[in-house]
Amino acid sequence: MRFSPGESVVVLDLKRPGHVRTPSYLRGRSGRVDRILGEFRDPEDLAYGGDGLPEKPLYRVAFEQRELWPDYGGASGDLLYADIYEDWLERT
């Protein structure tokens, strides 16, 4: 596990085509690791008939809504969580 809860991370903007589980609206955005969710078979390999091994660490990352959307109308404490695989993350 490269990251620990509380660490600041940025979602990489990897130009991978095809089946990925990192939504485009989060690429290039900064968040904070909320918790480690465990290790799972790689969905990017499973989608094309592979065995998904080795497993990849998965993290729940918290993003501040006001940072994601400049025109966000809700409260300042509002958060968005997404589950992101380790190779899509980098320390900030």
Partner: protein, 204 residues
């Protein structure tokens, strides 16, 4: 859709239905699946419903120990109530509190805790909900008739990967002394997604 292998000439099949039947036929012909497996999977999915979620919530409301186990290991806790959600997918129950309200979405497709709740509602799969729930969750909930007070933080969970999320709502006011079954009757599907909250019996 039910598992059967005879045509219904009186019903015009949609192009999607024709395609899925063709794929099913091929999978069976090539020995990838058997018809019995297809039928078993349909039965499995049809046996699941939001009622399961309501039972889990009601038990959590009346039993603190169960609530802790539900938040810790959802699949194991569900088995205590005879709800078999075992399978490769992991679950996470997120708890609403006086400070925090949770809303679930899957922007990439329609990830949903199916092994507990069955199939998601159509609106959950709509492009409209999937794009707006992450961007303006409060406006979306307002359209469901639920206004989140400004002093409560909204947390949106985008189910992007291997976990499926379910909301544990707060127990409504005016439910003191109600039976667990009565409490379960207050919990609706949309409360488990977080688009709404259970109403007190006076309003339900």
């Amino acid at each position: 859709m039910t598992g059967h292998d005879h045509p219904h000439p009186e019903l015009p099949a949609s192009p999607y239905a024709v395609r899925i039947r063709a794929i099913e036929q091929l999978l069976i012909e090539r020995g990838v699946l058997t018809r019995a497996e297809v039928r078993a999977q349909i039965s499995y999915m049809e046996a699941r419903s939001p009622e399961n979620g309501a039972r889990l919530v009601a038990r959590a409301w009346v039993d603190e120990g169960f609530k802790a186990r539900l938040l810790e290991d959802t699949k194991k806790a569900a088995l205590e109530l005879g709800i078999d959600a075992t399978g490769p997918v992991e679950f996470l129950v997120v708890e609403n509190t006086p400070q925090v309200h949770n809303l679930i979405v899957c922007t990439l497709c329609s990830c949903y805790p199916r092994a507990i709740l069955g199939r998601p509602p159509d609106w959950y799969k709509s492009l409209d909900y999937r794009s707006r729930a992450v961007r303006e969750p409060r406006a979306v909930m307002r359209e469901f008739g639920f206004e989140v007070p400004e002093d409560i933080e909204v947390r949106v969970h985008d189910s992007t990967a291997d976990l499926r999320y379910m909301v544990l709502p707060m127990r409504p006011e005016g439910t003191k002394g109600m039976s667990e079954t009565g409490l379960a009757g207050l919990v609706r599907r949309d409360d488990l997604i977080g688009a709404t909250i259970p109403l007190s019996p006076a309003k339900a």
